[in-house]
Symmetry: C2
Subunit: 189 residues, 2 copies
């Protein structure tokens, strides 16, 4: 992991999730830590930056997020697609996914959850309390954001020729799409 | 529009949104209709199929969705990327977007909102009432689902060689990514 992580402007950071990439959710509390894959995550607001992640109430991640009020949200690249799939296919209630799948981590800046190395970008989040608890919707405010400078800088993705650097979009049954061709259309305003 | 729309199994239909494509939201009430682009939409549950879309409270779409309790959610392809961008860059309060941007529609099966022709897939949704109204989160249960048989069949995307058939992922400032290369990894369970 010799690549450089650079800060992302908090007021632009939810744009990192705008193209709908699959994410990894990390969590920690009381000596336990976990990582799960979440295809169902997206921005909720720009300023202050807020995100939504759907986290099933029966998961270890949900226990740890509810108890700690924090979670890490990160965008894996194709280089760690196999670990992402494994993290999404197994439960932290039965597995130490970090050890079993060789998922490397580093310490977060603002939260206790570990952050997954080798991702394209990282968002450290604090849970926004919500009275209605009906739908497994977890909301978080982003308190720190940074990205791999090779892939993202000046609030733009800069995917290069290495296909392993692309972010991912999950379908089902082990099928992913890599993020594809970029194109820019003239805006009308 | 000579292409065939085929039904999608309701219990599998939220998978259509799993890879995080940009969507178009259609709405109608009291003689008015509108279309907006929504990058912030995703599945909420499989069975019964539920979706979430973030719709700013100040928009005409929100007025029409709140009043009718229904909305159309559809996944545009690159063939209508310019119309998608235009629908996302202008307000229905000032513009008849269908007429101005040449956005063709057809009648929905279960809801009053028009559906946008030329998309990859369509979900007709009824709003799920929610007591907490703090975050512009609109939830819908899908009551009808169908897809362009050229692109999606048997619960799988089948993108062919035509780049205009790809679904889209929005970034900002008129920049999109097309849905890219598909790859399948062995599942661990």
């Amino acid at each position: 992991m010799s690549r450089t992580r650079l800060p992302v402007d908090l007021n632009r950071c939810t744009q990192l999730l705008g193209h709908g990439p699959v994410t990894l959710v990390t969590s920690a509390h009381g000596g336990k830590a976990n990582v799960m894959a979440a295809a169902w995550s997206m921005p909720l607001d720009f300023v202050p930056p807020k995100v939504i992640v759907i986290i099933d109430a029966r998961t270890l991640t949900r226990q740890l997020v509810d108890a700690s009020g924090e979670f890490g949200l990160q965008i894996p690249t194709r280089a760690i697609a196999a670990q992402t799939l494994a993290a999404g296919s197994t439960s932290g209630l039965q597995h130490d996914k970090f050890a079993e799948f060789g998922i490397e981590t580093f310490a977060a800046q603002e939260i206790a959850a570990p952050m997954v190395a080798g991702c394209a970008a990282w968002l450290e989040c604090r849970v926004i309390p919500d009275a209605s608890d009906r739908f497994d919707i977890i909301m978080g405010e982003v308190v720190a954001a940074y990205a791999d400078a090779t892939i993202y800088s000046e609030n733009r993705w800069h995917f290069g020729p290495d296909p392993m650097d692309r972010t991912l979009h999950y379908v089902a049954g082990g099928q992913f799409f890599a993020t594809g061709e970029s194109f820019v259309l003239p805006t009308t305003r």
